[in-house]
Structures are given as C-alpha cells and as structure tokens.
C-alpha cells in the first residue's frame, strides 16, 4: 500500500510542477523586481532634482530605490511629472508617466519605470519597472 502511494504521488507532483511551469510561462507584460533592478541598474538613493536633470543612466540608477521606498505611492499623479519632468516612455496610455531607464535603447532590452494610476486617475497606485521592449 505504501509503495502504491509513493508510485502515485510522485507522478502527480511532477504533473503539478509541469502545470505550474506552464502557467508561469504564459505571455504578458514583463516586470523587474527591486533586487534585479539593483543588480542591473544600481542602488543610488532617489533624488527628484537629480532624476529630473539626469540622463537615462542616472534615472536607472535611482529606479530601484524609487520603487523600494514607494516615494510616490498615494501622491497626486500630476506630482510625478511636476517633480520628475516630461516622461519619454509609454505604457498602455500616454498619460501614464513612464521614464526610460535603459541607457542604450538601440538594444532589444529597454526598461522603463512606470507610475500606475488609481482607478480615478488622481493618485499613484503603484510604481513598477517594466520592459518597454521586447518581450
């Protein structure tokens, strides 16, 4: 009986892992975690004035800290562009503030930091690092 249980449990586990793997591999938008952003772009502390004046590389270096500290979450959406300047990226709607943070956009690996609005488009609901191109 024990042997039978072992025989049936292992294939069931393997099928479960396979299905979980398939669901993870579904297509969709790609995002980067804070740890990955720190490793790829750096860990410089966020400074609004430096972000606004800086190039894409400078913005990238502050991106992880900006997400980690949730500096803009709950703040008015328009405060993003007031403090960080004109966005140059795009995510779903032109009015979603998005800033490109990859220094070399000619490579097919362009990332941007996006400020998702709440349902009324009044406040920042979440800040994420999103792959602009290409999935």
């Amino acid at each position: 009986m024990e042997k039978l249980k072992r025989i049936t449990i292992w294939p069931a586990c393997l099928v479960g892992i396979f299905i979980a793997g398939l669901s993870m591999a579904q297509p969709g938008e790609t995002y980067m975690t804070v740890a990955q952003a720190q490793k790829k772009f750096g860990k410089t502390a966020f400074d609004a004035a430096k972000f606004k004046a800086g190039d894409r590389k400078t913005k990238g270096e502050m991106a992880a800290d900006l997400v980690l500290k949730k500096t803009f979450v709950g703040k008015p959406l328009k405060s993003v562009t007031e403090l960080l300047g004109s966005p140059d990226g795009y995510f779903e709607n032109d009015a979603v503030p998005a800033y490109v943070i990859s220094a070399d956009v000619t490579r097919k690996d362009t990332w941007q930091i996006i400020f998702l609005p709440d349902k009324d488009w009044k406040k920042v609901d979440e800040v994420k690092i999103h792959k602009n191109c290409c999935n």
Binding site: G28, E29, Y31, E92, N93, P117, W121, E126, N132
Partner: protein
Amino acid sequence: MLRPLATHSRPLKLTFCLTFILLSSQTVVADTCESWFLKSGVKVGTKDCEIDCALIPSDMGSFDCSAQCDELCKTYVNPDTIAEIAHYVEVRTLTPSEKSLIAKFPVDAVKAYLAKKSALESTRRIFGNNFRNDESDAYRHFMWSGLMREKIESDRALAFLNAHEAGTAEPAAESQMDQANNKKGIEAAQKLMDQGKFNQKNLEQEALNGLKNGDLKVLSPSGKVPEWKN
C-alpha cells in the same frame, strides 16, 4: 546576463468584469449555442459565416441554434480572446470613459483592444520601442485608429480613441497630437478600404509615408523614420 524574473499582471477583476459584461449583454447568445458554434470551427467575419453556421450538425441540445446564426456570426467572441485580454490588460490604465464604453459596447471593445495590441506590436517591430511624443508615438496612434476603423464604424472607433484620452492629466498639446494622428489613421484606413487595398502592411506603409511627408503630428521629433520591415 541578468535574467529578469517575469511577473505577469493578472487582473482577476477584469476577468470577472469582461466575462460578466459579455454574458449579460443582450448581444451574446445562449451558452449552449456558443459552445455548438465554437466547436464547429466556423469563422466569424467571413462572408459565408451564416451559411456555414446553418450547416453545422445539431442535436437535441442545439436543434434551434441555427436560427441564431446571424447573431452568432455578428457578435460571437471567442472565450480564448477574453481570457487573453484579461491576462494582458492592466485595468488601472483604462480611463473611466473607456470603462463606460466597454460596458456599453463589449464586442467592439474587444476589437478595439485587439487593434491596439496589433498597433503596439507593429510599433515595436518597426521602431524597436514605444516612446512618447516622438515618431513611434505618432505611428502607434495612426496604426491603432486605422486598424480599429477596419473592424468597427468610424464614429464608434473615434469614441474609443477619445475615451482613451479623456479624464487623464495628459498635457493638451500631447492629447492634440494623439487626436490628430488618430484622425489621420482613420482617414487612411477608410481610403484603403474604399480602394479595396486594406491590409496591415499597406496601412503601415501609409503611416511611414505620413511621417516622412510631415503629415503626422510629432511634438518631439527624433528625425528618424525607419524603413518598413516585415
């Protein structure tokens, strides 16, 4: 090489919302007939759809479905499409006006979404990235509106495009750029349709020609218009 851990947005709320809207809509026929129609493999949008539909074998559970072929051919949306949309759409980026239009015209909303997805993919293929206020932005709007026009009437297409701009804090100049390029896209699609030459490739070439000729509005031009590529 850093391998990004892909995390995917799965707005369950939207899944429920779209499913509810579609199922509660008067334009969607009974589930039994939907399944009957889906299993047959008959394609919606083809000129023979209604004839092919009428010829689908039926049984006790679907004996009266052929009477609904006109509805099924007009309004049926594949559940896989809905599932795909629910998987892709970041619901927070829909404006209140867009949500209202989705509730009123769910089938056209699906078509509008699919046109947008094609426009984004086309922009990535031609320009490499989707940026803001530059040539890629103008191209994206032209393509979205043109592809949408081919699927739905001009007024409805324009309503979806305007709803996308409404209720946000986008600067007026940027919104005007988007609307000007939307209008050009609809006009170009209409012209191609009238000539019987509408396809995505021709629309893409119209967009690139429009950029080269200065017909499309670009607030922050990079000065680079790529050549068309497959």
